[in-house]
Symmetry: C2
Subunit: 320 residues, 2 copies
């Protein structure tokens, strides 16, 4: 028997088959139909699901249930997606029931960052971990918390938002209405935005200035590359982001003490240029009462974590 995991993204919809032991089978992806209506989006999700089932010569009778990982805000208990970045018509959509009706299968909805963390926990970088925290360094900082093998949702389905942990009292204003949130200091988007401001405001002699002038914008990758080439401002900006990321990881240890913190998202493509200074800061900022026991490492499933984890959530929900 199988569960289907669907990862609904703003640009891409992906489905995967996962068996009870956590082995992933076929994967199928297609662009999310962003120019129609909710029914069109559900149609795309159903098509992706059907493709992976048929690719293995199976029918719906071989499928125990479907897990859907979706960007937030959502209500898991009510199965509703309240809003979706980039797709204005996906507002207050009863996604769980629509997909369930379309596929005639039981469906469970889950936050995409939680699903991705659960995917890594089940069959990625979480091997032999009981408690795992995942941070996605993308436009914002997404996160999912696994405690004792279960996703931490919180009492009001609002938990696990590590990107909005306040790290700098009275710090930079964040889109969430708070100031000084972690994601304001180390998401790819804000790192680039902060650099752009610094270059524009008081141009230091930096290679980034030429890139900014030529492209009209810079991104985290430009900063990483300029740093590698020895650019001083790029090094400073990169190091500051990594410092705050390490602070966030230390707080995760104090509060949750997981086996592992796994990182994913664009900025992790920098590899050891991210992880080496991150571990340095982490060790330095960590308390001296015990040695650091939580491992900070790279996630291993890449962009498949969300769909695989969604299938895992379906197994946990419908598998007994």
């Amino acid at each position: 028997m199988w569960c289907v995991g669907i990862d609904l993204g703003g640009t891409f919809t992906k489905a995967v088959l996962v068996d009870r032991a956590g082995n992933a089978g076929e994967v199928f992806g297609l662009p999310t139909p962003t120019d129609g209506d909710p029914a069109g989006v559900v149609e795309g999700m159903a098509e992706a699901a059907n493709r992976v089932v048929e690719a293995r010569g199976l029918s719906h009778r071989d499928v125990v249930g479907v897990g859907v990982g979706s960007p937030g805000p959502i209500s898991i208990s009510r199965g509703i997606i309240y809003a979706m970045p980039n797709i204005p018509f996906m507002s207050n959509v009863p996604l769980r029931d629509m997909v369930g009706k379309k596929l005639d299968l039981p469906v469970v909805l889950e936050n995409d960052a939680n699903a991705a963390a659960y995917g890594e926990y089940l069959c990625g970088a979480g091997e032999e971990a009981r408690d795992l925290v995942m941070l996605t360094l993308g436009t914002g900082v997404g996160s999912g918390i696994i405690i004792d093998g279960k996703i931490l949702h919180g009492s009001h389905e609002l938990g696990g938002e590590l990107g909005h942990m306040i790290l700098v009292p009275g710090g930079e204003p964040c889109g969430c209405g708070q100031r000084g949130c972690l994601e304001r200091y180390c998401s790819a988007h804000y790192v680039a935005a902060g650099a752009t401001r610094r270059i524009r405001e008081a141009p230091p002699p930096t290679a980034l200035r030429a890139i900014l002038d030529a492209k009209g914008s810079i991104d985290a990758k430009d900063i990483h590359e300029a740093r590698k080439a020895g650019d001083k401002l790029a090094a400073e900006i990169w190091d500051k982001a990594v410092y705050y990321l390490a602070l966030g990881c230390v707080n995760v240890c104090r509060i949750l003490d997981p086996d592992r913190i796994v990182l994913t998202g664009g900025m992790t493509r920098a590899g050891e240029d991210l992880f080496a200074p991150l571990r340095d800061h982490f060790f330095r900022l960590h308390w001296s009462l015990t040695k650091p026991k939580t491992e900070v490492s790279l996630a291993s499933l890449g962009s498949d974590a969300g769909s695989i984890g969604a299938a895992g959530v379906a197994w946990q929900t419908f598998g007994n």
Copy 2:
């Protein structure tokens, strides 16, 4: 049937009987024998336990198990207390097995702050809560986290240390080796220490100066009372502590999203003089994406939370 909970403190040892439904029976306390050896401390714990059993006309056959709440650092899995504030000879003591042998009953060890949180969860301010966080504003800031009715220990028994969440990057040095920990800004001890420094360094016109000169020291209660009497410096110091406490509560909401955050410890005796400004700061610092749903309130069991919670841990461990 009953479980016995023992709260081992640096100055006082207390035992309580608790039935399966969470009803507390007899309580007995005695000064912790601090001038002998570990066997003497265990003797005191056994005496307290025996007293509450006998007070109800019961024998050890009516007791399912014993829970011991102890100050840290401890190893729950190994049943060892590594060190105890104020009692130097309580170092690397196999407390669980010593108490078990003495009473001839199964014993489980738990961190005292976790036990207290569990006590409030079971039969105190945690009524109808599934997830609860407790903060004790004492010499330091102790804390316990209950998720889904279970104590969060973390993968290495190091979780739930909210007092050492870093709130101010590069801030005040903390005894733990980190800088800017929550407890450096809002424990009773550090609030008083910070005030003393300010009064001594550049004496502003404050009533606290006279108190400091007369007593040689000031405490959080002096600050609270001077604030009530309109002292400006006292108000400033109090408000700063409450601000950081509110920041910590906001972070707890972002990460754990509990039903309730309950506060206890000396500073909570200030009542609404603590809670009113705390809620103001909390609402102001909270993100705007949702209204605050987590309730911040006073713990209800006072100094009995630890022993009652320890009995609850015994029920959870031995009750099935």
